[in-house]
Symmetry: D3
Subunit: 187 residues, 6 copies
């Protein structure tokens, strides 16, 4: 009953949406089982790769020149439970950033009217997958953005943030599981 | 696909643990379906009513002279999904309090080393039930506590907090459901 | 805890089987969440689009020159629950038609030996999808058919039937949900 | 993949609510697995035995001097699927009665404003249980009732109705299961 | 994603059926989460404590003067999955015993016509519970029994068997989980 | 509540991985519902057809010149339950072979260091699918193998083994279902 895998990959990966497919962490990093992989890189998702039909309908583009990415996979899980976990991941990141102007609205983080994050959760045939990413730079994005550099984060602290968020998330997921193993039922 | 019931009961109820049973909101307030009921009152749970076996084993007592209570019920749900929702409720309350010293640790809120909250989630035969409560006064509690009065909350703002937290939680639960209805699956 | 979307589209759509895919109602009509969409149009499903392997094996063709169609989507649901709902939809339509010679046999409606309806339920990666359709004209179909015109339905009453069936179905689905929120468990 | 048990017990049983508990059919008739048991007898449920909290809140009494009862049990099933099955049972009974004035409203059958039936579905720790019953006589009931005698049913035809409804229900449950085993998934 | 708890308790416990309740391992040994506890002791279950209604109906008594017991708990699990795990536990024990005359028939182990084991799986409100036990001595049992002493087991080897079976079972449960985290879906 | 289909096909089929797709038994043999189909033939799976990503990552090839195959399908089931059933299938085959040197390690059977079997379980959109196969000849395989001929099996006994294993598996699956229908819940 130990924790899920948490892995920070220290080379750049260009996020294209292809990473949001089952067993990506297993195929690429040998991580078998529930996992969170964090890495840094640009983000550019072609409309054909978009899984959020809301974005497709809105004609939104998903683009960021430099982002901190999280790919999470939970096996044998309903999409709704996956979305609940995704929201907790965003709440954990929000708390870590310790920025009074930061607001969480569902799976989005905002600083004032600048959008700090993007995120989506969906189903694969064997698991639930979450992608969440934080802007590091706030220029060059399709909507008004905020970035970690704006909050004074250095590259080193960006990496630390990813690692810390990953471990806090894994810890919370473990404690959620444990919370189910200490109560008696009620009438 | 509208929201769950949110109800603020403006008379005092002494929380004894008996409220944590299925259909409590339906029996008492006619609320049929998923619901969050908020009320204020003292809290004193006899060991025989405790559902958290960790507390029973630790010999903890669950007591607070004046607390803001939330009783939440979700039907047809697994306990694990209920615990995930409970965590989001605590994250929502934390954000509402806008207190830089406030920390969420799982289902607990702390100000420094003072415990602001208690919470538990469990299963009934037909639903998942959550109890969460915030100390209003910080004296007379079995462990070092923090209370809403310490944060400068007036009685009026305590009530407002309960109502606001309830509506934000209901809104988040609705948006979680909607988030499952806008994505295509991935491979 | 409100009702699912019910939408009558008053222009003709040629049903080809492509409509039986997840988020069709959301992509085309902006209906996010559980939905029933009703429309009128011809029906012609290529063997490559057939989801009922029984039809494929039998070499059946799915064709009707003019039909009243229902596309239903329920999210986060098992296929078996989807089939149970499909059967209730057919029972509701049968009752609405108030025709003593009408018989329901599973998901089929017959008037004598004339087949009035076609229907299928299947799984998408995020939902369960139902297609049901009633012949309006009874000629030009691959098997002996009965049609709503044979029952004396005018075009206006055909539309009314679709709307009424949709709302009764949505009402029944709501009452099924509510029925789960008013009972205590038994031993 | 054969059908559930269908058993008509030809002696009178007084329905008291105690029959609505898991394994009743197994304990009393040796029927192991999903089952429908039909019998005739008076009905009188003490408030302490009522599982429908709506009835408890309304102060309704559940009473009928002579009824045709169905006790159904499905193992390993959600309550919502149980309620969907219950509704289909009522639709099957309605169709069998072939009475133009008969209306189904959820789990209730009415002839005009006379209530012909009572029904409830709930969860046991290992199964979902359904009780449905039809008035045979329409006098002596707490609300305005209709009875099978009013529809011209003889005692022999009452028994036949029970047996026929049981077998049609078992057949429909089997065909629901088979309908899940003949479709390919869609996108 | 580590293994479930495996614990061998080296003092005698008289098995009475009361041990087959949720959180028994947590309450008694502090083991939070999925667990297997093995111990030795007599076995005597009062009819009121029996969970196997088949035994109750048959008037069987559950008694053994000296047995090796396993109590297993898996949280958040269906009863059917619990029974599948129980069968694997019996298959593991059978293989460990390396006795050519030993046969597994469902959840029972036999040597010739001597019954070596008893076992049951059932649901608690929060978990699935399994009890399995092997006769150590074969006298004094209600049916013709076989015992580990008959197979030449010393007391030391009895204990070893319990520990080894526990670890093999935990390993198999872990490998079952991992087997779900390495496959792509098929059409 | 009868048993799943068991079918021995007495002509050779070359296993290519394409057989591991939903409704294969229904499309080819008209078997609707849960099924086990046994046949004999060579085995050669192209990397593009492999569902076990572990094999893909290892660069394993799946090849055997002559094998006894089992294709099993269970509808409406989680992958984890499918893997548990797969393990029981392997345990049943092991017991049938009555060979003291045979060891089961998860879903693999070994005689000494010779691999007797291959197996995989995965999800389709509507079911869980299992492939298991036993080498008949032990030459020409990519890893050191053992075969049924090595155990002295004639062609006739190979066929008998397939039929017997199929029926024992179907019987065990039935008894697992029945085991869920004879217990009361515990606290």
């Amino acid at each position: 009953m130990n924790r899920m895998h948490v892995f920070f990959y220290d080379k750049s990966i260009a996020y294209t949406g292809h990473q949001l497919s089952s067993l990506w962490a297993y195929r690429n990093f040998g991580l078998q089982g529930d996992s969170l992989v964090c890495f840094r890189g640009p983000c550019s998702v072609l409309p054909t790769e978009m899984v959020d039909v809301e974005d497709v309908l809105d004609g939104s583009s998903i683009y960021g020149p430099d982002m901190l990415h999280f790919i999470v996979e939970h096996f044998g899980e309903s999409l709704e439970a996956g979305v609940l976990r995704q929201r907790l991941l965003m709440a954990i990141i929000k708390d870590l950033l310790e920025c009074p102007d930061l607001k969480r609205d569902g799976d989005d983080l905002y600083i004032g009217d600048g959008k700090l994050s993007i995120s989506i959760a969906t189903s694969s045939p064997v698991s639930v997958m979450i992608h969440a990413a934080l802007n590091i730079v706030s220029e060059g994005t399709p909507v008004k953005a905020a970035g970690l550099y704006d909050l004074g984060y250095s590259d080193g602290r960006v990496a630390e943030l990813g690692i810390k968020a990953g471990h806090l998330y894994a810890g919370e997921m473990h404690s959620v599981k444990m919370a189910c193993c200490k109560v008696r039922g009620v009438k």
